[in-house]
Subunit: 279 residues, 2 copies
């Protein structure tokens, strides 16, 4: 196995040429031709052994989740994915079987959401490090941002919380996000836990929030629904008169930016912070 | 120090808003508005402690070179950089001083080449891992690819080889690359050594090459000029009648794709391969 042979195999697996992707794996850069009247969205997410997944995690699931995390960011802006770049650093212990399973999982999700693998980098490290960049598209000026929530807006989630990490086959909320275009005043995905991510949305929008109910998946506690990361449901706001899908969980209020109360009590931001939690 | 505080400091350092970048650090995605009649170029490159730099390397230089590697890929396609995304995984030993110096080096080069930092990811690992994605732009259909070299074309480099890694302040060949638009039949940057990268260009173009001279920087041997990585000069081809800048080093020939001879002798591909060299 060498770098060229991995690249040659991936080039064979290239999907959905066309769709604006003019050149994929194998040159210095990928070439993408944008369509008129669209903005492009860009997000990048690490998946690191010992941080985001364990050494014994099924590599197919690692690949799928690595891409799903970035697709979820595209969903949070109301976008449609266009292509991805995947950087992968392997350890001496990584064999061809692992690499094949990793790309099988990633490419299956890529195919489902029409997100061709357009390039990346290959290297080695002491632990497996994957970094996935996804480019998405959205109608010009229509991307859902997290800074537009206003006092009086209703606060929603796209589904019950606390369970994503247990799902075999998590699905990024791309179709749901697109339905919110022109309706939601703010939107983001819940990647580090409702309490921490809602705080971020409120700080960006310079508002506070009052939670009234927290929908949780079967088997999850309220604490898990409130603080667990990796939900990847969408958290969004809309004025009371605007009809949107989703579950209403509270209301945006005036007050100190980022202050969250749940049934009248102050909620601490206990979600996952990479620097705070690393020691 | 926590994730939010690093992000807040970087947001303050955001450069050159406008230029198509509508939203930078702090939301789920960056938003970029493409110009009409341009193709976009995408490249991503790891810089990993113990692989691409040593534990005692000046962090300012690590940051600068991490970005320079990706800018060099944009140069190789004849493009102009538009923005970058930077993923950074830190170790427990990384302090604020290191982080500040890393971003100082990276952002200084970013400012020089008008490449605003539009986002990224922050995490932790057992060794420092940086991954830099750069988006560039080029006139529609005009990107310089590596698959267009034809027998009879003259082979050139943009400068003498074997010395880049010793330079304090390496410069990606962006202006040079743009001068080759509409002239060069194939182009790439030399990142893994002339012998290996020329072989890649020849395989992509289904041609062979005959090297006649190998220009080396003062103090570098011919072997270093031929096989050392990290030159980041451009390697390109053009028909004999077309005037281009650069140093002629040989000619493209018919023959087995990827076969390279130097002054009549077969050249082995000894450049840097991440998988072959890792054991």
């Amino acid at each position: 196995m060498n770098e060229e042979s991995v690249i040659a195999r991936l080039r064979g697996a290239r999907l959905h040429t066309g769709m604006g992707l003019k050149l994929g794996i194998g040159d210095d850069c990928a070439i993408y031709r944008p369509r008129p009247n669209q903005d492009l969205l860009f997000t990048i997410d690490f998946s690191i052994e010992g941080v985001h997944f364990g050494s014994n995690t099924d590599p197919e699931q690692i690949g799928r989740r690595a891409l799903a995390r970035s697709l979820s960011d595209i969903a949070a802006m109301g976008g449609t994915p266009r292509f991805c770049l995947v950087s992968l650093a392997l350890t001496k212990a990584t064999d061809e079987k692992w690499i094949d399973a990793f790309y099988r999982g990633l490419l299956r999700l890529a195919r489902q959401y029409k997100t061709p693998l357009a390039g990346g980098d290959l290297s080695h490290a002491n632990q497996i490090v994957c970094d996935v960049m996804v480019c998405g598209a959205v109608a010009k000026g229509k991307a859902l941002r997290r800074d537009g929530a206003r006092p009086g807006d209703i606060l929603y989630v796209s589904g019950p919380l606390g369970g994503w990490r247990h799902k075999q086959d998590p699905q990024p909320r791309l179709a749901f996000g697109r339905k919110l275009i022109g309706k939601a005043t703010a939107c983001m995905d819940i990647s580090d836990g409702l309490s921490l991510d809602l705080r971020r949305l409120c700080i960006a929008s310079k508002v506070a929030a009052s939670l009234e109910r927290i929908p949780s998946v079967a088997g999850a506690t309220i604490e898990q629904a409130l603080h667990d990361g990796e939900d990847y449901e969408l958290l969004f706001t809309a004025p009371p008169k605007v009809r949107v899908p989703g579950i209403a969980i509270g209301v945006i209020t005036k007050g100190k930016a980022g202050k969250i109360v749940y049934q009248g009590k102050l909620v601490p931001a206990l979600g996952y912070d990479h620097f705070r939690n690393r020691t």
